[in-house]
Amino acid sequence: MADVVETAQFSAWMRRYADVIHENAGLLTELDSAIGDADHGSNMDRGMTAVVAALDGAEFASAAELFKKVGMTLVSSVGGASGPLYGTFFLRFGGKLGDGPVDAATLGDALHAGVDGIVQRGKAAVGDKTMIDAWVPALEAYDAAQADGLDVALRAAAEAGARGRDAATPLVAHKGRASYLGERSAGHQDPGATSTVLLLETAAATLG
């Protein structure tokens, strides 16, 4: 268990996330078919494929630079709601990482900044049945466990994110396309919350 995260680990996180998204693209699109427009899987897959292509062969002086590239790449390749939201997340996240190795507190600050960016762009709150329903409890769990170290905090965040995702399933959506369905959105798992939990899980596996 490391106390700090190196830039190479962040890069590994992104590559791992790209793989996991590719494997789960069908699932994400399936979830988006029920309450959206059947593209979340292909959107994320296209974006993370572009991210890997952008990372390949490139050298980054810092994690901040790496995530600037990730964020810009997602903004420029995904489109839809998830492009600006994940793009903004990584831009803001990277902006908080500084130049050196990243400790648990810095990582926590960065996660908060990223999620603040999502909220600013998307104006969703917990209970609106969006990725925010996974992010907010994940941040709370991370904060509570931060003192126990990066690894523990990230695992706690992933688990809390999953619980948040599931807690949103019975809800009626108030934001995003799912909101157009009104009552019919209840009982369906949110695709964006699902891809968020995958991001947290891969973070725990690669950064911890």
Binding site: T29, D37, A81, Y180, G182
Partner: protein, 333 residues
């Protein structure tokens, strides 16, 4: 999935190749950014009018690029908003010094991506104004939701606003007109079948033979509710009533009306539906000043239709009648 395509990942870029060779006399395609330009853009001194959105709604938006309508259209992946780079390329590419209007349909993704592009364009000293179309009466508008979707009114608005820009009006005039058109435009749609997003490979939803989806948008999504399959007369009522109760109408009001096919419904049914819609409007004392019947804003091969009414005064009818020369809408030229 049965489609006349080569690879689900390349549908949009390959369709753009076809657009380019089919309409090379009037249009120019930026393949890197997937933007369709009017061939003579930018026109100096003219307000640029751009729109864009996910693909799969053809002829919207690319088919509405040309004299008297759009100067450029950004083509996203199927049902996925384009990215800011695309809107930026379109904006700078059509700016003739008089500023650029962004016509945005109200979807979270479209709004956010256009917003980011507008911020970037403002950095680059292009004056940008945006109008967000939100005309779908199937969805309740509220501060606590994503608001109403932008659907059929978009087509009529692009025509009206395009005519205003062509006639030399200023950016503020054009943008204010757009806001006004949106405020008097309402739509409602229904689906008889789902459609298949190429990258998804199978229909977005399944519908029994005796059911239809009422209150759909334009992304192949299920509607507000599943209702029993209805006759054309009943279906027309289910589409027209919510529009007429949403925006108060009085006897003698005049509209531009559109009966729009979702892509898989044949024209013979759309004309039959138009007859029903026209009769309902007549009964309500509403005059149809102008109308469109056909596939104008679609959801791939979905069967179904939507009704759009834009309350029209003499100014709007005049703008409607102004010449337009695009692949999807053409008259007077």
């Amino acid at each position: 999935m049965k489609k006349l395509i080569n690879d689900p990942a390349d549908v949009v870029s390959q369709a753009l190749l076809g657009m380019e060779v089919a309409h090379g006399d009037r249009l120019r395609v930026d393949h890197e950014h997937k933007v369709i330009f009017r061939k003579d853009a930018p026109r100096s001194g003219k307000v640029g009018v751009i729109s864009g959105g996910g693909s799969g709604h053809e002829p919207m938006h690319g088919g509405y690029v040309g004299m008297g309508m759009l100067d450029a259209a950004c083509c996203g992946e199927v049902f996925t908003s384009p990215v800011p780079d695309q809107m930026l390329a379109a904006t700078t590419g059509v700016d003739g010094g008089a500023g650029v209007l962004h016509i945005v349909k109200n979807y979270t993704g479209d709004v956010m991506n256009f917003e980011m592009a507008a911020e970037l364009a403002a950095d680059g000293d292009v004056q940008v104004r945006s109008v967000v179309v939100d005309d779908d009466v199937a969805v309740q508008d509220s501060l606590y939701t994503a608001g109403r979707r932008g659907v059929g009114t978009t087509v009529l608005l692009e025509k009206l606003v395009g005519a205003a820009a062509e006639s030399g009006r200023s950016l503020d005039e054009v943008a204010d007109l757009a806001t006004r058109v949106n405020s008097v435009g309402r739509s409602m749609g229904l689906a008889l079948t789902s459609c298949t997003v190429p990258s998804a490979g199978k229909p977005t939803f399944e519908l029994a033979d005796n059911e239809m989806e009422l209150g759909i948008g334009i992304h192949g999504e299920p509607g507000r509710k599943r209702v029993p399959m209805a006759s054309a007369a009943e279906a027309a009522q289910q589409l027209v009533d919510p529009i007429l109760t949403d925006l108060p109408y009085s006897t003698g009001d005049s509209v531009i009306a559109m009966v729009n096919g979702m892509g898989g419904t044949p024209l013979i049914e759309l004309y039959l539906m138009y007859g029903e819609v026209h009769a309902l409007l007549e009964k309500a004392g509403i005059t149809v000043a102008r109308c469109l019947v056909g596939n104008y804003i679609t959801s791939l091969e979905m069967a179904g239709c939507s009704v759009t009414l834009v309350k029209a005064d003499d100014e709007l009818v005049g703008l409607w009648d102004a010449p337009v020369n695009t692949p999807g809408l053409r008259w007077g030229a």
